[in-house]
Amino acid sequence: MIRCQQLRFAYAGDAFELRIEAFDVAAGEAVALVGPSGCGKTTLMNLISALLVPASGSVVVGGVEVSRFPLAARQQFRLGTIGLVPQNFELLDYLTIRENILLPFRLGAGAGVDGRSRARCEELADKAGIATHLERYPEQLSQGERQRAALCRGLVTAAPLILADEPTGNLDPENQDRIVSLLLEEARGIGATVVMITHDPVLLPRFDRVVDVLALRKGGRG
């Protein structure tokens, strides 16, 4: 599903440089990215999602080299291929939970929100335990409920690749378990590939593979 080769990236005016010789993720695989803060986990994830463009090397997702995409194609790629679950929920405060979950359908050039997407939204919300909160606004929900809503939004398009950037970082153990269970179950259900950044060693056994980004940078293969 993902193949990164001879990857090199540096932020302008910053000493940090990410160099990765090779990093592959098979289709349907669930991979946990670990490593100390600042080691480049989020940078690697942004390169995979084509939000950043590498200085050299290539990122191939689903057989397509996304690192060579023009801007418009990158947006379409993200909308069509990636389900994103951010660390800080990133829910829009002026939309209800239902509207937030269905947001990816509003941004795409496709048919928009239809009966099928609504049904999918309600199904996910039911599984996440927030079905009764769909008409509420983010500020009316707890941290755990907001993160579950953000997870539902990442899953609603049934994208083949789900990128989750520390989605359990701000949660209590019970909510962490709930989020990861839902993420992995849904991904398996649709055969999606999962790449999730986490610092929590308790969650690692639930993934097919754990990749240390620091080790990758030192020439290891992932």
């Binding site: 999602s49 993200r78 990133e90 941004l107």
Partner: protein
Amino acid sequence: MNLGGVLFLGRRYLGRNRVKTSLLVAAFTLVWLLPAGIALVVGKVESQLRARAEGTPLLLGQAGSPLELVFNGLYFTKPAIATLPYGETEAIVESGLGMVIPLYARYTAANHRIVGTTLDYFDFRHLTIREGRGLIDLGECVVGSEVAATNGIAPGDAVISTPETLFDLAGVYPLKMRVVGVLAASGTPDDGAIFVDLKTAWIIEGLGHGHEEAEKLGDGAKLVNPSGFGDDAVRLNASVVQYNEVTEENADDFHFHGEIADNPVSAAIVIPGDAKSQALLKGRYAKAGGLQLVSPEAEMDELFATVFSVQDLVLRLLGAIGFATLAIGALVFLLSNRLRREEFRHLRLLGADPGTLRALIAFEAGFVLVTSLVLAGLGLLVLQGIAPMLVRQLLG
């Protein structure tokens, strides 16, 4: 760019932040509406005042404020201006220099000015009777279209003049006047006036009155030994009831004491026979200390020279305030977008292209601008509709 998504997000953002949006819209609406509204109202006032002034060659009145004379003679306001004797108007007619239409606009009935004048006034102003007939007898009145509409008055009804001093027993008693006609609307102050014969106006003033003949009254109604009067003089005391309405039966009992020429008029429209007559009249009254003969058009020129200089200043101030308001609005918008930077970043992460985000910002700003412009336009339409009423209120 996804237009549907832009409209959805923009609409939801504005709806959720409706207080901020409403304040911005209200502030911007005022920025557009205030200067345009002032210009519109001033323009309406000017066109109404000028049209009336241009149709009135000269106005004769007691010396004093020429502007107050113009307002009384043309718009029936300023009722307290000094009066001139009716005889002065007759003097002009007798001199053959022009035609004169006396006006006595002092009293009111149902909050409308009662204007005592002659039948020449209706021809001069091209006023036509829409319903009923014109003035014929003492105690009759013809009402303007607006008076009829606001008070539901038609020929056959009556209006009663408003007493000036309620607690003055010796004061002017209200006169009940029969409505014999309603004027067709003219879009001028005539629509809001009640026209009576000059003599009827003097009766309201108390200069003429009606009561039973003294010979028919008993001695109890007569003053005993009235000092200062001749032997043949008959004086009646307060027990004699005066008529408060002129009817067919009592019309002959109405009479005036003193000389008619001494009775007051508040203004007189003077229509000179020709340019020479006009010059002669102007020369005559330029020398006459107690009276003034003014050109309403010239007075309006002078008035609007002042009005426009004030308007210019006000518009400049409003322009500065408007610029400041727009700048603050833009600042609010920029700061708001800065606060939403994370939101925009995340929308990009989800797949929104930069064009969609630019369109979203443009939609929100455009909504505030367009809504405020539409509201200002509606406000101007409302102002346009109520402008005649505003003009009347401004004229007092």
